[in-house]
Protein backbone atom coordinates (compact mmCIF):
# COMPACT_ATOMS: atom_id res chain seq x y z
CA UNK A 1 0.00 0.00 0.00
CA UNK A 2 3.11 2.19 -0.32
CA UNK A 3 1.67 3.55 -3.53
CA UNK A 4 -0.83 5.72 -1.69
CA UNK A 5 1.69 7.46 0.56
CA UNK A 6 1.23 11.19 0.35
CA UNK A 7 -1.79 10.88 -1.91
CA UNK A 8 -4.48 10.77 0.69
CA UNK A 9 -4.29 14.16 2.34
CA UNK A 10 -7.80 15.03 3.49
CA UNK A 11 -9.17 18.02 1.61
CA UNK A 12 -11.44 20.62 3.15
CA UNK A 13 -15.07 19.60 2.95
CA UNK A 14 -15.93 22.13 0.29
CA UNK A 15 -13.51 20.61 -2.21
CA UNK A 16 -15.54 17.50 -2.77
CA UNK A 17 -18.53 19.59 -3.65
CA UNK A 18 -16.55 21.91 -5.87
CA UNK A 19 -15.54 18.96 -8.02
CA UNK A 20 -19.19 18.04 -8.35
CA UNK A 21 -20.50 18.39 -11.90
CA UNK A 22 -23.93 17.53 -13.23
CA UNK A 23 -24.04 13.80 -13.63
CA UNK A 24 -24.76 11.80 -16.66
CA UNK A 25 -26.84 9.16 -14.98
CA UNK A 26 -28.25 7.76 -18.16
CA UNK A 27 -25.12 6.27 -19.72
CA UNK A 28 -24.98 2.54 -19.92
CA UNK A 29 -21.97 2.11 -17.67
CA UNK A 30 -23.47 4.14 -14.83
CA UNK A 31 -26.68 2.18 -15.03
CA UNK A 32 -24.72 -1.07 -14.92
CA UNK A 33 -22.84 0.13 -11.82
CA UNK A 34 -26.08 1.19 -10.17
CA UNK A 35 -27.69 -2.20 -10.82
CA UNK A 36 -24.54 -3.99 -9.63
CA UNK A 37 -24.28 -2.03 -6.38
CA UNK A 38 -27.95 -2.19 -5.52
CA UNK A 39 -27.98 -5.96 -6.03
CA UNK A 40 -25.10 -6.63 -3.60
CA UNK A 41 -26.41 -8.55 -0.60
CA UNK A 42 -24.56 -6.44 1.98
CA UNK A 43 -25.76 -3.18 0.41
CA UNK A 44 -29.31 -4.54 0.45
CA UNK A 45 -28.96 -5.60 4.09
CA UNK A 46 -27.94 -2.03 4.98
CA UNK A 47 -30.74 -0.60 2.82
CA UNK A 48 -28.33 1.46 0.68
CA UNK A 49 -29.83 3.53 -2.13
CA UNK A 50 -27.85 5.07 -4.95
CA UNK A 51 -29.11 8.55 -5.66
CA UNK A 52 -26.46 9.75 -8.14
CA UNK A 53 -23.92 7.95 -10.29
CA UNK A 54 -21.68 8.89 -13.20
CA UNK A 55 -18.40 10.48 -14.23
CA UNK A 56 -16.38 9.03 -11.35
CA UNK A 57 -18.79 10.23 -8.67
CA UNK A 58 -21.45 8.50 -6.67
CA UNK A 59 -23.93 9.46 -3.97
CA UNK A 60 -25.40 6.80 -1.72
CA UNK A 61 -27.87 7.04 1.12
CA UNK A 62 -28.27 4.80 4.16
CA UNK A 63 -31.65 5.21 5.90
CA UNK A 64 -31.66 5.16 9.70
CA UNK A 65 -32.22 1.66 11.05
CA UNK A 66 -32.28 0.75 14.77
CA UNK A 67 -30.55 -2.56 13.90
CA UNK A 68 -27.43 -0.60 12.89
CA UNK A 69 -27.04 1.18 16.24
CA UNK A 70 -23.54 0.89 17.68
CA UNK A 71 -24.06 2.81 20.91
CA UNK A 72 -27.25 1.69 22.63
CA UNK A 73 -27.03 4.56 25.13
CA UNK A 74 -27.45 7.19 22.39
CA UNK A 75 -28.95 5.35 19.39
CA UNK A 76 -26.04 6.48 17.19
CA UNK A 77 -25.36 4.30 14.11
CA UNK A 78 -22.22 2.10 14.34
CA UNK A 79 -19.04 3.33 12.68
CA UNK A 80 -18.87 0.00 10.87
CA UNK A 81 -22.11 0.70 9.01
CA UNK A 82 -20.73 4.10 7.95
CA UNK A 83 -17.54 2.31 6.77
CA UNK A 84 -19.60 -0.04 4.62
CA UNK A 85 -21.55 2.88 3.15
CA UNK A 86 -18.36 4.81 2.31
CA UNK A 87 -16.61 1.75 0.91
CA UNK A 88 -19.59 0.94 -1.33
CA UNK A 89 -19.87 4.53 -2.51
CA UNK A 90 -16.11 4.71 -3.17
CA UNK A 91 -16.24 1.51 -5.18
CA UNK A 92 -19.18 2.84 -7.22
CA UNK A 93 -17.29 6.09 -7.93
CA UNK A 94 -14.33 4.07 -9.29
CA UNK A 95 -16.50 1.76 -11.37
CA UNK A 96 -18.33 4.61 -13.08
CA UNK A 97 -15.10 6.47 -13.89
CA UNK A 98 -14.73 6.80 -17.67
CA UNK A 99 -11.26 5.21 -17.55
CA UNK A 100 -12.17 2.14 -15.49
CA UNK A 101 -14.00 -1.03 -16.33
CA UNK A 102 -16.75 -2.10 -14.01
CA UNK A 103 -14.57 -3.97 -11.54
CA UNK A 104 -12.61 -2.82 -8.53
CA UNK A 105 -11.57 -3.83 -5.01
CA UNK A 106 -10.59 -1.73 -2.03
CA UNK A 107 -6.86 -1.65 -1.29
CA UNK A 108 -7.09 0.66 1.68
CA UNK A 109 -9.64 2.92 3.28
CA UNK A 110 -9.12 5.46 6.05
CA UNK A 111 -12.13 6.95 7.75
CA UNK A 112 -12.14 9.89 10.16
CA UNK A 113 -15.19 10.07 12.35
CA UNK A 114 -15.75 13.76 12.98
CA UNK A 115 -19.00 13.61 14.95
CA UNK A 116 -21.84 11.27 15.87
CA UNK A 117 -24.60 11.00 13.27
CA UNK A 118 -27.91 12.25 14.66
CA UNK A 119 -30.14 9.27 15.58
CA UNK A 120 -33.16 8.96 13.31
CA UNK A 121 -31.52 10.64 10.31
CA UNK A 122 -30.30 9.01 7.10
CA UNK A 123 -26.58 9.23 6.27
CA UNK A 124 -25.65 10.31 2.76
CA UNK A 125 -22.19 9.87 1.24
CA UNK A 126 -20.68 11.48 -1.83
CA UNK A 127 -17.56 9.77 -3.17
CA UNK A 128 -15.30 11.20 -5.87
CA UNK A 129 -12.70 9.23 -7.77
CA UNK A 130 -10.33 12.21 -8.14
CA UNK A 131 -7.36 10.46 -9.70
CA UNK A 132 -6.92 7.26 -11.60
CA UNK A 133 -3.87 5.48 -13.03
CA UNK A 134 -3.63 2.22 -14.94
CA UNK A 135 -3.61 0.30 -11.66
CA UNK A 136 -4.90 2.46 -8.82
CA UNK A 137 -7.89 4.74 -8.26
CA UNK A 138 -7.88 7.36 -5.50
CA UNK A 139 -11.11 8.25 -3.82
CA UNK A 140 -12.34 10.88 -1.38
CA UNK A 141 -15.69 10.63 0.33
CA UNK A 142 -17.74 12.60 2.81
CA UNK A 143 -20.78 11.52 4.81
CA UNK A 144 -23.51 13.82 6.12
CA UNK A 145 -26.75 13.53 8.02
CA UNK A 146 -29.44 16.24 7.77
CA UNK A 147 -26.92 18.84 8.95
CA UNK A 148 -24.92 19.61 5.81
CA UNK A 149 -22.56 22.05 7.55
CA UNK A 150 -20.22 19.44 9.09
CA UNK A 151 -19.56 15.94 7.82
CA UNK A 152 -20.23 12.98 10.06
CA UNK A 153 -17.17 11.29 8.54
CA UNK A 154 -14.64 11.74 5.76
CA UNK A 155 -12.71 8.99 4.00
CA UNK A 156 -9.74 8.52 1.70
CA UNK A 157 -9.24 5.30 -0.15
CA UNK A 158 -7.19 3.52 -2.78
CA UNK A 159 -8.92 0.99 -5.04
CA UNK A 160 -7.67 -1.45 -7.65
CA UNK A 161 -8.40 -0.57 -11.28
CA UNK A 162 -9.02 -2.55 -14.40
CA UNK A 163 -8.59 -0.35 -17.45
CA UNK A 164 -10.79 -0.54 -20.51
CA UNK A 165 -8.93 -2.33 -23.27
Amino acid sequence: MRVIAGQCQPLPRSDVRRIHKPMDTTDEKSQRVRAFMEALPHCRALGLEMTEIGGGQAVMRMPYNPALVGDPATGVVAGGAVSALMDSCGGAAVMCHPKAVASTATLDLRIDYMRAATPGQAITTRAVCHHITRSVAFVRAEAFDDDASTPVAVANGAFTVEMQS
Binding site: R44, A67, G79, G80, Y113
Partner: protein
Protein backbone atom coordinates in the same frame (compact mmCIF):
# COMPACT_ATOMS: atom_id res chain seq x y z
CA UNK B 1 -3.34 -14.24 51.16
CA UNK B 2 -6.79 -14.58 49.65
CA UNK B 3 -7.77 -18.06 48.51
CA UNK B 4 -8.23 -18.32 44.74
CA UNK B 5 -11.88 -18.42 43.74
CA UNK B 6 -13.35 -21.64 42.29
CA UNK B 7 -12.85 -21.78 38.52
CA UNK B 8 -16.59 -21.94 37.75
CA UNK B 9 -17.22 -18.66 39.56
CA UNK B 10 -14.36 -16.91 37.77
CA UNK B 11 -15.46 -18.18 34.35
CA UNK B 12 -19.11 -17.41 34.98
CA UNK B 13 -18.28 -13.83 35.97
CA UNK B 14 -16.02 -13.23 32.97
CA UNK B 15 -18.39 -14.79 30.46
CA UNK B 16 -21.38 -12.87 31.85
CA UNK B 17 -19.47 -9.58 31.56
CA UNK B 18 -18.44 -10.36 27.98
CA UNK B 19 -21.99 -11.31 27.04
CA UNK B 20 -23.36 -8.09 28.55
CA UNK B 21 -20.80 -6.09 26.59
CA UNK B 22 -21.84 -7.65 23.27
CA UNK B 23 -25.57 -8.19 23.68
CA UNK B 24 -26.28 -4.53 24.24
CA UNK B 25 -25.10 -3.48 20.77
CA UNK B 26 -27.70 -4.03 18.01
CA UNK B 27 -25.14 -3.69 15.18
CA UNK B 28 -23.05 -6.58 16.58
CA UNK B 29 -26.16 -8.78 16.45
CA UNK B 30 -27.01 -7.50 12.95
CA UNK B 31 -23.55 -8.47 11.68
CA UNK B 32 -23.57 -11.85 13.43
CA UNK B 33 -20.33 -11.16 15.29
CA UNK B 34 -19.43 -13.28 18.33
CA UNK B 35 -16.44 -13.47 20.66
CA UNK B 36 -14.49 -16.35 22.13
CA UNK B 37 -12.45 -15.85 25.28
CA UNK B 38 -9.28 -17.51 26.56
CA UNK B 39 -8.43 -15.83 29.86
CA UNK B 40 -8.40 -12.17 28.94
CA UNK B 41 -7.71 -12.82 25.23
CA UNK B 42 -10.63 -12.23 22.87
CA UNK B 43 -11.11 -13.53 19.34
CA UNK B 44 -13.86 -11.99 17.23
CA UNK B 45 -15.78 -14.31 14.91
CA UNK B 46 -17.73 -13.04 11.92
CA UNK B 47 -20.19 -15.85 11.23
CA UNK B 48 -20.64 -16.09 7.48
CA UNK B 49 -24.01 -15.05 6.13
CA UNK B 50 -25.18 -14.37 2.60
CA UNK B 51 -25.93 -10.76 3.55
CA UNK B 52 -22.20 -10.06 4.09
CA UNK B 53 -21.42 -10.61 0.39
CA UNK B 54 -20.11 -7.59 -1.51
CA UNK B 55 -19.02 -9.24 -4.74
CA UNK B 56 -21.29 -11.85 -6.21
CA UNK B 57 -18.98 -12.92 -9.02
CA UNK B 58 -16.08 -14.12 -6.85
CA UNK B 59 -18.00 -14.32 -4.40
CA UNK B 60 -16.33 -12.28 -1.66
CA UNK B 61 -17.17 -10.55 1.62
CA UNK B 62 -18.04 -6.86 1.35
CA UNK B 63 -15.03 -4.70 2.22
CA UNK B 64 -17.30 -2.65 4.44
CA UNK B 65 -18.36 -5.75 6.35
CA UNK B 66 -14.71 -6.64 6.90
CA UNK B 67 -13.96 -3.08 8.07
CA UNK B 68 -16.93 -3.17 10.42
CA UNK B 69 -15.88 -6.54 11.82
CA UNK B 70 -12.34 -5.30 12.58
CA UNK B 71 -13.70 -2.12 14.14
CA UNK B 72 -16.13 -4.01 16.36
CA UNK B 73 -13.31 -6.33 17.45
CA UNK B 74 -11.12 -3.32 18.29
CA UNK B 75 -13.89 -1.55 20.24
CA UNK B 76 -14.93 -4.62 22.23
CA UNK B 77 -11.31 -5.62 22.99
CA UNK B 78 -10.67 -2.09 24.24
CA UNK B 79 -13.80 -2.08 26.42
CA UNK B 80 -12.88 -5.51 27.72
CA UNK B 81 -9.38 -4.30 28.70
CA UNK B 82 -11.00 -1.29 30.35
CA UNK B 83 -13.23 -3.33 32.65
CA UNK B 84 -10.89 -6.29 33.19
CA UNK B 85 -9.19 -5.11 36.40
CA UNK B 86 -12.45 -4.10 38.08
CA UNK B 87 -13.99 -7.37 36.95
CA UNK B 88 -11.16 -9.42 38.45
CA UNK B 89 -11.35 -7.54 41.75
CA UNK B 90 -15.05 -8.36 41.85
CA UNK B 91 -15.94 -4.67 41.76
CA UNK B 92 -18.32 -5.10 38.83
CA UNK B 93 -21.47 -6.92 39.91
CA UNK B 94 -24.74 -7.53 38.08
CA UNK B 95 -23.43 -6.30 34.77
CA UNK B 96 -26.07 -5.49 32.21
CA UNK B 97 -25.78 -3.47 28.99
CA UNK B 98 -27.29 -0.58 30.99
CA UNK B 99 -24.78 -0.65 33.86
CA UNK B 100 -21.64 -1.21 31.76
CA UNK B 101 -19.32 1.71 31.00
CA UNK B 102 -19.90 3.41 27.63
CA UNK B 103 -18.02 2.05 24.61
CA UNK B 104 -14.93 3.87 23.30
CA UNK B 105 -15.61 6.13 20.31
CA UNK B 106 -13.73 5.64 17.05
CA UNK B 107 -11.68 8.70 16.07
CA UNK B 108 -10.23 7.20 12.90
CA UNK B 109 -9.88 3.75 11.41
CA UNK B 110 -7.62 2.63 8.54
CA UNK B 111 -8.23 -0.72 6.90
CA UNK B 112 -5.66 -2.47 4.77
CA UNK B 113 -7.25 -5.07 2.48
CA UNK B 114 -4.73 -7.83 1.83
CA UNK B 115 -6.87 -10.54 0.22
CA UNK B 116 -10.44 -10.99 -0.91
CA UNK B 117 -12.64 -12.15 1.97
CA UNK B 118 -13.87 -15.66 1.22
CA UNK B 119 -17.51 -16.62 1.74
CA UNK B 120 -16.86 -18.27 5.11
CA UNK B 121 -16.24 -17.34 8.76
CA UNK B 122 -13.60 -14.73 9.57
CA UNK B 123 -11.64 -14.23 12.78
CA UNK B 124 -9.97 -11.19 14.30
CA UNK B 125 -7.79 -10.28 17.24
CA UNK B 126 -6.93 -6.79 18.41
CA UNK B 127 -3.71 -5.66 20.05
CA UNK B 128 -3.86 -2.53 22.17
CA UNK B 129 -0.67 -0.65 21.39
CA UNK B 130 -1.41 2.16 23.78
CA UNK B 131 -4.24 2.84 26.17
CA UNK B 132 -4.22 6.13 28.02
CA UNK B 133 -6.91 7.83 30.04
CA UNK B 134 -8.30 9.64 26.99
CA UNK B 135 -6.90 8.01 23.85
CA UNK B 136 -6.07 4.53 22.69
CA UNK B 137 -4.34 3.12 19.62
CA UNK B 138 -5.35 -0.36 18.51
CA UNK B 139 -4.17 -2.71 15.75
CA UNK B 140 -6.45 -5.50 14.51
CA UNK B 141 -5.65 -8.53 12.39
CA UNK B 142 -8.31 -10.46 10.49
CA UNK B 143 -7.93 -13.90 8.92
CA UNK B 144 -10.01 -16.79 7.66
CA UNK B 145 -8.66 -20.29 7.10
CA UNK B 146 -5.04 -19.63 7.91
CA UNK B 147 -3.82 -17.47 10.79
CA UNK B 148 -0.64 -16.54 8.88
CA UNK B 149 -2.52 -15.32 5.82
CA UNK B 150 -4.37 -12.21 6.96
CA UNK B 151 -7.23 -11.07 4.71
CA UNK B 152 -7.26 -7.63 6.32
CA UNK B 153 -5.61 -5.59 9.04
CA UNK B 154 -6.48 -2.23 10.53
CA UNK B 155 -5.26 0.48 12.89
CA UNK B 156 -7.56 2.82 14.73
CA UNK B 157 -7.55 5.55 17.33
CA UNK B 158 -10.24 5.69 19.96
CA UNK B 159 -11.55 8.16 22.47
CA UNK B 160 -11.94 6.46 25.84
CA UNK B 161 -15.20 7.01 27.71
CA UNK B 162 -15.09 9.01 30.91
CA UNK B 163 -16.11 6.60 33.62
CA UNK B 164 -17.05 6.93 37.24
CA UNK B 165 -14.58 5.32 39.65
CA UNK B 166 -15.80 1.87 40.55
CA UNK B 167 -15.49 0.22 43.94
CA UNK B 168 -14.28 1.54 47.26
CA UNK B 169 -10.53 1.66 46.67
Amino acid sequence: MKRPEPIQIVKQRRDAALAALIEGVPYIQFMGIGFERRGDELTGILHFDEKLIGNMMLPALHGGATAAFLEVTATITLSWAMIWDDLERGDLQDLTPQTLPRLPKTIDFTVDYLRAGLPRDAYARARINRKGRRYASVHVEGWQDNRDRLHAQATGHFLMPTRPTVGNG
